[in-house]
Point group: C2
Chain length 444, copies 2
Amino acid sequence: MASTKMMHLGAFALASGHHVAGWRLPGAQAGSENLELLKHIAMTAERGKFDLFFLADALNTSPTMHPSMVVRLEPLTLLSVLSTVTSRIGLAATASTTYSEPYNLARLFASLDHLSGGRAAWNIVAGAFPAAAANFSLKEHPEHSERYRIAAEFVEVAKGLWNSWEDDAVVMDKDSGVYVDAAKMHVLDHHGAHFNVKGPLNISRPPQGYPVFIQAGASDTGRDLAASVAEIVFAVLQDLDTAKAFADDLRGRVRKFGRNVDHLKIMPGVCPIVGESEKDARAKLAELGARADAATSLRVLSERMGHDLSAFDLDAPMPQLPPSGMMQGHAVTLAALAARDGLTLRELRDFTSAAMGHRLLLGTPEQIADGLEEWFVAGAADGFNVMPPWFPGALDDFVDHVVPVLQKRGLFRTEYEGTTLRDHLGLPRPAHPAAAVAATNAAE
Amino acid sequence: MASTKMMHLGAFALASGHHVAGWRLPGAQAGSENLELLKHIAMTAERGKFDLFFLADALNTSPTMHPSMVVRLEPLTLLSVLSTVTSRIGLAATASTTYSEPYNLARLFASLDHLSGGRAAWNIVAGAFPAAAANFSLKEHPEHSERYRIAAEFVEVAKGLWNSWEDDAVVMDKDSGVYVDAAKMHVLDHHGAHFNVKGPLNISRPPQGYPVFIQAGASDTGRDLAASVAEIVFAVLQDLDTAKAFADDLRGRVRKFGRNVDHLKIMPGVCPIVGESEKDARAKLAELGARADAATSLRVLSERMGHDLSAFDLDAPMPQLPPSGMMQGHAVTLAALAARDGLTLRELRDFTSAAMGHRLLLGTPEQIADGLEEWFVAGAADGFNVMPPWFPGALDDFVDHVVPVLQKRGLFRTEYEGTTLRDHLGLPRPAHPAAAVAATNAAE
Ligand SMILES: Cc1cc2nc3c(=O)[nH]c(=O)nc-3n(C[C@H](O)[C@H](O)[C@H](O)COP(=O)(O)O)c2cc1C
Ligand SMILES: Cc1cc2nc3c(=O)[nH]c(=O)nc-3n(C[C@H](O)[C@H](O)[C@H](O)COP(=O)(O)O)c2cc1C
C-alpha cells in the first residue's frame, strides 16, 4: 500500500459520449454497442491506471433518450468480454434491485467476479426510471421508500447467497472423491418482506467475497443505504461547499452505522474537456453545444429533474419543481445551480446536455488537475468518476495529459499494486461469517 | 452450402465430465468454474468444427448433485468470455422461462449474439428442477402444463422484444444528427396471461434476428413447443427404433405448425468413449464406474426419474413409477431401458452415472463413427450432442480421432462455411416482421 493517500478514478463509459452531441464530433466514434470502441475505452482507462470502468444502466428506452442509452450492450455480458482485454481495472455494472431476482443477479455478479479474477463492482440502483415498470409486468414503479426497502433487503439476500459456500468449500479431491465439503455449505433460508430465498447459490464464493458495492442515491433514504453498505458513492455535485457538506454528512452516517469511514470512497462525477488553453477547451464545448439536439437535451434534463419540462417557457427562469422521487442527486444539484446563477430553462438545458448535471472541468491539463486536487485535498472527494464528453478523444486526452500531472503531484498511482478492485481501493475483503466466527473463537 | 447433407455436432460442456466420476480420472481436469478448462473445451470443439458449444443449467444446487452442476460459472457471462477465444462455434446457454423476466433474458441473449457476431443459442427450458422455486420467492414450482404455457408466452414476448428495432434502425448519422430512426422502432405492448411487457428493448436487433432456439422437452406439450419454435431438439434416446419414431413424430408436428422440417435439427445426446479397441473402451468405462460415488449416482437417477429413489431396494428390479412431470425425456427412456434389459435399480443407477441416460458409444473411432452414421442415415438424428465422460481427454479423443473419420466419410464439414450459428445449421435468419411486410408489398 502507498503511504500517502491517493485519489481514485473511474471511467464512466457512456460510449456515445456524455455530451448529448459527443458522438457527432468529427473525430468521435459512436455507439454503446460498438465493442471495439468499448474495448479501447477499457484498455485506455487501464493504461491510465484507473480504479474502475463503470457502466450506467436503465431498463427502458426511447429514441429521444440520451444517445448513449438508446441501444446498448447488456453490462454484465459486456464486462465479461472486457475482462479478457484487461487484467487489473475494476469492472462496474449498474443493476436494479427493483427489476431482477436476487438469485439471478447474485449469480451474474459472482460469475463476473470469478471471470475477472476479483474485479467486479455492483452499482446498486433502486431503478430511477418509472418507465421500466411496464417492461416487467408491473402496473406501477414502486414508490421511493418502498424501492429502497426492496433494495436493502435485496442486498442482504445477495450477501447471504455469496456466503453459500465458504472460501475453501470446493475441495475436488480425486483420491477421496470429495467434490465439495458439505459442512462448508450454508443454506440461507431468507424469509423477508419482499423475498423468500432459500439458497445455496450455485457458484462458489466470489474472489472478492462480495463485489465492491457502489451506490448513487442522494435522498435521506439513499444516503442511509449508501452509508450502511456502499464502498463507493457516486454523486452529482457542482460546488466545493456542497460537496464537502455532502461528504461530511455521508461520513457521519457511515460512523453511525459503525463502519470505518476509510471504507467508503466518495467519487463525484466530472466531465473534463482538455485544451491547449482554457479558451481552446471552451471552444470545444461550444462546438459540441452547436451540435446538440434541443429535444434530446430537454428530455435528458426532464429525466434528471423527474418532471416533464416540455411545456415550460424556455426563456423564463428555471421553474421551481417539487421533489420527484426519481434522481435526487441530479435534481437538487441542478435546481441549486439554476437558482445560484439565475439560469433560464434553456440555459440549464444546455448546461445539462454537456454532462447531465455533473461538474464540468475545462482547460489545460494543469487546470483540470487543479480542479480535482482542490476537492480531494479539501476532503470533499476521495476520487472522481471521469465522464468524457466524447470518445475516444476526450478520454485519451485525460489519460495522456491529466493523469501524468496527477501522478507528478503524487496524487495518483503510477502502477497498480494489487490485482483486485478491493486492492486498488484499499478495501478489506469481507470474511465469510463462518470464518469470522472461527477467528473470534480462536482468539478467545 | 454443401450439396450433401451434413451431420451437426454440439459439445455439451458439463465441465467436470458427464460421468459422475469423470473428474476423478488421473488425467482429468475438474470444474465448471475452471475457466482455462472451459476455454480449452470451446477451442477444441471449434478445432473439431463443431456447430456449437452447449451449457446446461439449473437454478438450485446441492452437494450431492452431479459434480458438474454443484458450483459453476453463470452461462451467459461465461459464453461472453468464450466468444473471445473462438470465432465460429455457436454458443448455447440453457435458461429458464419460469424464473426470469423476458426483458432481462431477451436482453442478455441479444447482447451475447452481438458480442459473438451471431453465435448465440438459447436452450429454452421450463425449469426441470422444483427446488428452484424456493430460490425465487415462490411457494411452489408451477405445474407442468402451466410451466409450458409460461414458456410459450415468454418466447413470444422475447421475439417481440428482439423486433423492437428493425435491422437498420440505428443510423448514427453525424451530419443530420439522427441517432436512431424512430420510425423503425416498434413498441411491443404485449398483454398476456403471464406477462405484460411494453418494450421496446434497449438493444438493437441481434445479428441472427433471434438466437437459435433449442428445446429438450419430451412430453406431448414439450414436443408441441419444440415443433412450434425450436430449431434444435436435444433428446435422450437409447435405441434406433425409438429415436426414429421420436423424429418422425416431431417432424409430423413441425409440418402441422406449417414449418419446414429442415429447420428443425434433432440432436440426441451421445457419450463417446474412444479406445484402441472396444475392450479398451470398456476398461475405461469400468475404471470410471469403480470411482463413482453411489449416493451421487442415485441422486442423479432420482432427479432424472423425478422421484426420490433412496428408499428402494437396490437389488430388486427397477420399480415402475408414475410420470413425474419433471424430465420426461430421461424418465421415459430410462424406464424403457430398464424394462427392456430387466435391470435392477443398482444396474440402472450405474448406467445413469455414465451419461445421465444418454446413449453410450464405446469402441474404436470407426465404431463410434458407425454408431453416429447409423442413426444419421436412418433419419433418426440430424446430428448429436457429444457428452464427453471426462475432460479434456475424452473430447480431445473425439475431435482427434472420430471427427476425421466422419469427415473422411463425407458426413461432417471439414471447414466452417459461414460465420453465424444459423449459417452452420443452414437455418434462415428470421426477417423482421416489418421487412417481411415490406417484401410482400413490393411483390404485389
Ligand atoms: C450520479 C448518479 C448516477 C446514477 N446512475 C443510475 C443508473 O445508471 N441507472 C439507474 O437506474 N439509476 C441511476 N441513478 C439513480 C440512483 O441510483 C437512485 O436510484 C436515484 O437517484 C433515486 O435515489 P435518491 O432519491 O436517493 O437520489 C444514478 C444516480 C446518480 C446520482
Ligand atoms: C437432454 C435434456 C437436457 C435437459 N437439460 C436441462 C437443463 O440443462 N436445465 C433444465 O432446467 N432442464 C433441462 N431439461 C428439461 C427440459 O427442458 C424440460 O423442461 C423437462 O424435460 C420437462 O419437459 P418434458 O416433460 O416435456 O420432458 C433437459 C431435458 C432433456 C431431455
